[in-house]
């Protein structure tokens, strides 16, 4: 390769932001620069970096870019050890926060785990009232995947909230999970979801020393952040409505180094950095 050609190629790489298309090879994903992780806290909890809104909804949807993240460093001891879990998701939730269904990507700290799709939902039949599923559907840095939850008003097996990964009209998609009950039916007992239902989209950690996905150079983007004004009734896929709520009013980065940045209509970025 001539020197001038090489320089032009390198410039093109920089301009492309590390997503160069190699002739005949397809997209090449560059290793991401990990964000700075910090010492573990000796307590565990729920820590967030994202956005929630208060539209009455039957579901929630967001395109979320997969980004890398680091777990906190020990010592001091992380009480969850290799069971620590970092994730990014979209979620539909009742206003009292007692019922929810969410789907997204996440990874356990355990060295053999991969970043994969998961879903979690409330149900009285599972211990502690929550059910969790993990599937070996992996996602890699730079992937942009639609994660969506929708109340599907079908007669068989019954109306339920379904949790999906992927936009079936433009990319490979997976039906990940469905509530084993009808949350809108008062006969569902303790599993009945009182209205209103709201929408949330977030990165989540279990230790304040953990990173949320994303770094300064590779932010985790949430785009087409949307809610579902009406139940999903037909066999075609549901139509979500963008929140169109710029600037965002209900952001919730719980730590000062969990950064949040509006990114235009119905879009935002999150990442971890020493200074946001």
């Amino acid at each position: 390769m001539k020197r001038g050609t090489l320089i032009r190629f390198l410039i093109a790489l920089v301009v492309a932001g590390g997503s160069a298309i190699w002739p005949g090879v397809g997209p090449v994903k560059f290793p991401e620069i990990a964000s700075a992780n910090s010492a573990c806290s000796t307590s565990s909890g729920h820590y967030y970096d994202g956005y929630g809104d208060f539209y009455d909804t039957w579901g929630a949807s967001a395109w979320i870019v997969t980004r890398s993240f680091n777990f906190c460093t020990e010592p001091p001891t992380n009480p969850l050890g290799d069971k620590d879990f970092i994730s990014a998701w979209s979620m539909v939730v009742t206003s009292d926060l007692n019922h929810f269904a969410q789907v997204g990507y996440g990874r356990y700290k355990k060295s053999t785990d991969t970043t994969h799709v998961f879903a979690e939902y409330t149900y009285s039949g599972c211990s502690n009232g929550k059910c969790k599923v993990d599937y070996p559907v992996q996602t890699y840095g730079g992937d942009n995947i639609k994660y969506w939850n929708a109340y599907h008003n079908v007669s068989s097996p019954h109306p339920r909230i379904e949790m999906w990964a992927g936009d079936c009209q433009s990319q490979t998609c997976y039906d990940i999970a469905g509530t084993p009950y009808d949350p809108a039916n008062t006969n569902s007992g303790t599993d009945y979801w009182p209205s209103p239902w709201y929408e949330q989209y977030s990165g989540e950690t279990k230790n304040t020393g953990d990173d949320v996905p994303g770094s300064v150079g590779y932010k985790a983007s949430f785009t087409s952040v949307a809610y579902l004004p009406n139940p999903w009734k037909s066999s075609t896929y549901p139509t979500f409505q963008n929140v169109a709520d710029y600037p965002y009013k209900n952001t919730e980065p719980t730590e000062p180094y969990y950064c949040f940045q509006p990114a235009g209509d119905s879009a935002f970025n999150i990442w971890t950095a020493g200074t946001c």
Partner: protein, 177 residues
Amino acid sequence: MNRYLLLCGAIAVAIGGTLTLRLRYVTGPTTVRASGVSISRTVPSEYLTPLSAFNLRFTETQVAPGEHPVLPGGAAGITDEEAVTKAMAQSLGAVDGQLSPGVQVAARFGAFSDDVFAKGGPGAPMQLLYQNRPAWIVTFFGPGLTIPLDGPDPLAVHHEQNVVIDADTGDYLMGYS
């Protein structure tokens, strides 16, 4: 021996027998294998997650400890010990191929179906991926296993995790808890 001692002895035998029956009922037969792992065939009720919670179905077939199950085509499937070894790589109840302290394991073989998990895409109708798949459901359980959950504070955890392993290929199919 006086009547008092006889009575105490009878009570002790009764309690012991009841306890033994209770333990046998709860944990079922457990066999220690070459790997040093004790594999049960039953899961204690407090750790048993209903399959319906995940839209799963499972028809169990009894397989003797260490035996290869016979797959629908007649081939031999992987043993329970091999399935547990595969599952350990996925489970939070094991580290470096060893069960964590306070964690036990059970393995059940049978026909496994997931009535939700499906794959599709542009021009490709949704297709269920796991239907009547010969599989081992490997359940890790005990206080030494803690899976953190999402949702409102305080942080809740599960003390059981089910890892489904394809009995033909040894592939990891899913985890649920």
